[in-house]
Symmetry: C2
Amino acid sequence: MKLAIKRKQLNEQVSEFTTNRLSVYLRCLNALGAAGVRTVSSQTLAQQFHLNAAQIRKDLAYFGEFGVRGVGYYVNGLKRHLRQILGLERKLKVAILGAGNLGLALADYPGFRQEGFQIVALFDTVTAKVGQQSRAGVPIFDIKDLRRIAAREKIGIAVIAVPVESAQHVVNQVVAAGIKAILNFSPGTLRAPEGVKLKSVDLTVSLESLSFYLAREEE
Amino acid sequence: MKLAIKRKQLNEQVSEFTTNRLSVYLRCLNALGAAGVRTVSSQTLAQQFHLNAAQIRKDLAYFGEFGVRGVGYYVNGLKRHLRQILGLERKLKVAILGAGNLGLALADYPGFRQEGFQIVALFDTVTAKVGQQSRAGVPIFDIKDLRRIAAREKIGIAVIAVPVESAQHVVNQVVAAGIKAILNFSPGTLRAPEGVKLKSVDLTVSLESLSFYLAREEE
């Protein structure tokens, strides 16, 4: 039993690192496709985007995608396959909790829309904001209506963009509304019950890697 | 010559993945420290935060940090060491380019301040915003004054939070102002000259890993 749990955790962990890479490959293929490139080898892909060629081949082979000898990968075919693996062929509806600066910025973030995510609602507790909308036209609802709107709109993912003090409370409301995947931008540690996937984005990590770079340059 | 360039790229790549992990370890140690935990083994660290124990040992050994047999790592000592490796013992000054929703959200993001980053200025082209400040009190300057203020304040890192159309132009202005490290939140591909480190954050990657999770759950 204990081993089964461990294996499950391990699988989830592996898949998270791997899906992050698949997502990066998709980004690169989009750029190549836009530039009119039709085929690409793992070496070229690795060189152009500072990735690891062996890792690319391993990741793609795991999902049954094999390059063609002497050709590499077909850009459009591989894009389609990656989008399918990542579940992007269907439109996923996203709600953003918190209509402050961060929530409003995320609601209008162009990258989400490009990959087929549909930001359908913002939620806030501030009455003055309810009934307003983001610049791109995402409506702001009262968080009291979360459960009803989540069911009606079939919302798949909730994004947490509220202050750290209220983040856990909002996560609980999201879980009660039946949403199974949560992307958290609040800096604290949050808990979600089993069966709900909670992923946190820590923006400090990127800044620290620049700090490391600067510290070495100064040596 | 070619080999030397390749090796340089490889080193940079390895260090970026590694520093990202160091930064994650530091986040975990902060949480443990706040909870009053004094020592931690690589296994416990791995289990609690869904990391890889062997990878932790390898990463830390690379920077000369060895755990104590039967004890593991001293939380405070390791925190101090990681902060030193990441160059966080000195206050790094950060400017944010773009005082829209994203720029304002980043200016007030509590995680940055916690790790010693000092957000000293926002810059925008919109005259009505200049002279205003973010909720946490970061002043908004005219982007025309970037070079002068960057020199006066000794700004180390610039964060790009402008629309994709103007992002490359703003990067050029940041480079001209002598700033050597750039964190980009705009979705497009940007170029910076050699000697300037440009790191892009793509928020879509996190959302896609949740999409993958949901697609598998539905199977």
